[in-house]
C-alpha cells in the first residue's frame, strides 16, 4: 500500500490554556489525501486540538510539524497558504455574497489591496464549481440555508488553495442529507485534490463509513487508526463514561440498551422479524428462541397481510401492526 506523504506530525503535544491543560501527550499523524475524523465527547478538547493545529491557539508544550517544519516556523502568510480553517462560529455578514465570501479565500495570495487577478478569479470560479454552488454565487450569505453556507465556507477553503483543511464540527447545524453531502464533499476533496482534511464530528456513523482515519479522544489518550480497526479493537466502547450508552460492534453505532428484564420467544423471518426484534428490544424484552418463555410472538403472513400472534399468560392476541403489539407487550 502506498502510504503517501506524511504531512502533519504531532509530537508529544499538550494543549490547553496557560491556566489549564486540557489534554497532554498527544501523538498523531496525517498523510496527504487523508480524510480524518476527530471524535470525542463534548469538552474532550476537540476544538482546542483543531485550533492548536490551525495555529489559532498556542500549544502548552510539544510540537506540531508540517512536512517536518514546526508550524511556528511558517510566516503568517505562508501558513495561510498551507492550512485553511472552518470554525463552528456561524458567519453572518450583510451585503456579502457567496462569491465575495469565497474570494476572501484568496487573501494570502493577493496583494495589499486584495485585488483578484486572473489566476485568483479562476481559483474562485473553480472552488464555486467544485462545491456545486454556482446558482448561489450572487446570493447574500444571510439569505442561504445553513447547509449552503457550509458549502460556501468549504469553497472558501478550496479557493485558499491549501493542502490541509481543518474543520471544526462542519456538520453540527445541518440536517441529515446535508451532513452526508458535506462529508462526501470533504471526502471528494481528499481523494480528488489530494488534500488532507481533518474534521471533528459527533456523527460516528458517518465518520466510520467515510473517514480514512479516526483520531479518537479517549479518557486519557488520543488514539488513531482506520475506523474498522478501532471498532474491532473495541476502542469506541470506552469513550463514554456513562454505562447507559454502549457501542454496538455489529451496527457500528452507539445504542441505549433498555434494561432487558423480560424475555420473549419470537418466531418469524424476513425484515418483519428484524424490526420486531428492534421493537421488542426497545420495550425491554430479550428475544430468545427457547421454548421456556412465558410470552411468545409468532409472525405470520396471510393474504399478504402481516399478523403478530401473541400468547401471554394463557391469553392469545392477534394484531396487525407493531404499534398494537407494543401496546399489549408494553404494559407492565
Amino acid at each position: 500500500m502506498d502510504t503517501g506523504k506524511k504531512i502533519i506530525e504531532i509530537h508529544n503535544l499538550n494543549i490547553g490554556y496557560p491556566s489549564k491543560t486540557i489534554f497532554s501527550g498527544i501523538n498523531l499523524s496525517a498523510y496527504q489525501g487523508e480524510l480524518i475524523a476527530l471524535i470525542g465527547i463534548n469538552g474532550a478538547g476537540k476544538s482546542t486540538l483543531l485550533r492548536t493545529l490551525a495555529r489559532l491557539q498556542k500549544e502548552s508544550s510539544g510540537k506540531v510539524t508540517i512536512e517536518g517544519n514546526n508550524i511556528h516556523q511558517y510566516s503568517i502568510k505562508t501558513f495561510a497558504q498551507r492550512v485553511s480553517f472552518v470554525s463552528t462560529e456561524p458567519v453572518y455578514v450583510s451585503n456579502l455574497n457567496v462569491k465575495e465570501l469565497v474570494a476572501l479565500g484568496r487573501f494570502p495570495h493577493t496583494n495589499w489591496l486584495g485585488k483578484l487577478d486572473e489566476k485568483d478569479s479562476a481559483a474562485v470560479e473553480r472552488a464555486i464549481h467544485k462545491t456545486n454552488i454556482e446558482n448561489l454565487a450572487e446570493k447574500n450569505i444571510n439569505q442561504i440555508s445553513d447547509g449552503e453556507r457550509q458549502r460556501a465556507m468549504i469553497a472558501r477553503t478550496i479557493a485558499q488553495d491549501t493542502d490541509i483543511i481543518i474543520l471544526d464540527e462542519p456538520t453540527a447545524f445541518l440536517d441529515l442529507p446535508n451532513r452526508y453531502e458535506t462529508v462526501s464533499l470533504l471526502k471528494a476533496l481528499s481523494k480528488n485534490e489530494n488534500k488532507t482534511v481533518i474534521f471533528s464530528t459527533h456523527d460516528l456513523n458517518i465518520a466510520i463509513r467515510q473517514a480514512d482515519k479516526i483520531w479518537l479522544i479517549q479518557k486519557d489518550k488520543i488514539i488513531e487508526g482506520a475506523p474498522e480497526d478501532l471498532v474491532l479493537n473495541n476502542c469506541f466502547t470506552h469513550i463514554f463514561e456513562s454505562s447507559k450508552i454502549s457501542f454496538d460492534i455489529e451496527k457500528g453505532d452507539f445504542t441505549i440498551p433498555a434494561s432487558m428484564n423480560r424475555s420473549v420467544k419470537l418466531t418469524g423471518d424476513g425484515a418483519e422479524y428484524l424490526w420486531t426484534v428492534k421493537a421488542l428490544e426497545r420495550l425491554g424484552y430479550l428475544v430468545s428462541d427457547s421454548n421456556n418463555e412465558n410470552i411468545t410472538v409468532r409472525i405470520t403472513r396471510e393474504n399478504n397481510r402481516l399478523n403478530w400472534v401473541i400468547e401471554k399468560e394463557n391469553c392469545k392476541f392477534a394484531v396487525n401492526s407493531i404499534y398494537e403489539l407494543s401496546a399489549i407487550l408494553g404494559r407492565r
Binding site: L56, F85, L104
Partner: protein
C-alpha cells in the same frame, strides 16, 4: 461583474458631482450675499471686485467648509471601521463612547493642564495638545470597549457598556468643570456645543494631516477589514496579522474620531449612519468601495448638515450637533428595526 463595476464607477462620479455642488452651495450660503461666480473667482484667482468678500470666503467660509468635509469623511470612516471590527451594526464613535473619551482628553487639557500655564504659553502648543489628548482619550475608550467585546459577544451588552463608559467620562469631565475657573470653563462649554465654524486656519492645518493620515491608514487596511468581516479567527486563518491590523485600525479610528472631536466638538450620528447608507447604495461589503463611498457620502452629509443649520435664519446658525442627530437618528432606528438579530 463588469456591469457592477460600471455602476459603482457612475455612483462615484455622481457622488463627486454632488460633493462639488454641496461644497459651492455651502460657500454661497451665509449672511453676506456673495454671487456664485465671484466665489469661484475668489477660489481660483484670489481676486474679487470687493476685497472684503475675499476675506469672508478665505478666512471664514472656506475653512468651515473644508472642516465639514474632513469631519464628515473622518467620522464616517471611523464608524465604518468600528462596525467591521466589532462586527456590530450599531458601533460608531459616539455610540461606543469614543467621542466621550476624546472629550475627556480635551477636558483634561483645557480645564486641567491649561490652568498651570499662562494663556500665551498654552496657545503655543495648545492645539497640538488638544488633538493628542483627544486621540489618546478616544484610543483608551476604544481599547477598553475592545477588551470587553472579546469576552462579550452580545451587541446590546457592548452598547450598554459603551454608554456606561461614555457616562463615566462625562462624569469625570463634570468634576473637572466644577473645579475650573470661569474663563476656561466657558471655552470648554462652547467647545462641547460642537461647531464647524470655530475651527481656525491654524487648527485646520493640524486637522488636515491628521484626517489624511487616518484615511490613508484606513485605505491601507481595507483588505484586512474585508477579512475581519468573518471575525478574528477566520481573519487569522486567512493570514491576517491580528496584532498589526488591530494597531492600524485602532490608530486610524482614534486619530479620525479624536482629531475631529478635538476641534469640532462631539458630533453625533454621522459615524454610525453614513456607513449604512454607503452599504445600502453600493450594495457591497468590500471595504475599498465602502471607505471611498463613506468619505464621499460623509462629506456630502456634513456639508448638507451645515447648509441645513444655516437655513432658518441667516444671522444665527443652528448647532451642528442637533442637525446631524435629526438626520442620523431615523437611519439608526431603521437599522435597529431592520436588524433581526437585535430585535
Amino acid at each position: 461583474m463588469q456591469q457592477v463595476n460600471k455602476t459603482r464607477f457612475y455612483l462615484f462620479g455622481l457622488l463627486f458631482i454632488i460633493l462639488i455642488a454641496a461644497f459651492l452651495f455651502d460657500l454661497f450660503i451665509g449672511s453676506a450675499n456673495i454671487p456664485l461666480p465671484e466665489i469661484v473667482k475668489i477660489l481660483f484667482t484670489h481676486e474679487s471686485s470687493r476685497p472684503e468678500w475675499i476675506s469672508i470666503i478665505n478666512d471664514f467660509r472656506l475653512p468651515k467648509v473644508i472642516t465639514a468635509i474632513l469631519a464628515g469623511a473622518a467620522l464616517s470612516v471611523s464608524g465604518l471601521q468600528m462596525q467591521t471590527v466589532f462586527r456590530n451594526p450599531l458601533a460608531g464613535p459616539d455610540v461606543l463612547g469614543i467621542t466621550a473619551g476624546a472629550s475627556l482628553g480635551v477636558a483634561v487639557v483645557v480645564l486641567g493642564i491649561s490652568s498651570f500655564f499662562s494663556f500665551d504659553t498654552f496657545m503655543l502648543f495648545g492645539n497640538w495638545a488638544i488633538v493628542i489628548a483627544a486621540c489618546i482619550g478616544s484610543g483608551l475608550i476604544l481599547l477598553l470597549i475592545f477588551a470587553v467585546s472579546l469576552r462579550v459577544r452580545d451587541i446590546i451588552t457592548i452598547l450598554i457598556l459603551g454608554i456606561m463608559f461614555g457616562s463615566a467620562t462625562i462624569a469625570i469631565v463634570s468634576i473637572l468643570q466644577y473645579f475650573s475657573p470661569a474663563p476656561t470653563l466657558k471655552a470648554f462649554v462652547i467647545w462641547t456645543m460642537g461647531s464647524l465654524g470655530g475651527v481656525t486656519k491654524s487648527q485646520l492645518w493640524i486637522l488636515l494631516p491628521c484626517v489624511i493620515l487616518g484615511l490613508f491608514t484606513a485605505v491601507l487596511s481595507s483588505k484586512i477589514l474585508n477579512a475581519l468581516l468573518l471575525g478574528e479567527n477566520y481573519a487569522k486563518s486567512l493570514g491576517v496579522n491580528i496584532k498589526t491590523s488591530r494597531f492600524l485600525i485602532f490608530f486610524s479610528t482614534s486619530l479620525l474620531a479624536g482629531s475631529v472631536t478635538a476641534f469640532c466638538g462631539p458630533i453625533g450620528f454621522i459615524g454610525i449612519a453614513v456607513p449604512h447608507v454607503t452599504r445600502m447604495i453600493f450594495k457591497t461589503s468590500h471595504h475599498i468601495y465602502l471607505i471611498w463611498g463613506s468619505i464621499l457620502i460623509g462629506s456630502v452629509t456634513m456639508l448638507a448638515s451645515d447648509i441645513l443649520s444655516l437655513l432658518p435664519g441667516k444671522e444665527n446658525a443652528l448647532p451642528i450637533n442637533s442637525v446631524t442627530a435629526l438626520l442620523g437618528i431615523p437611519i439608526v432606528i431603521w437599522i435597529i428595526i431592520k436588524n433581526k438579530k437585535i430585535v
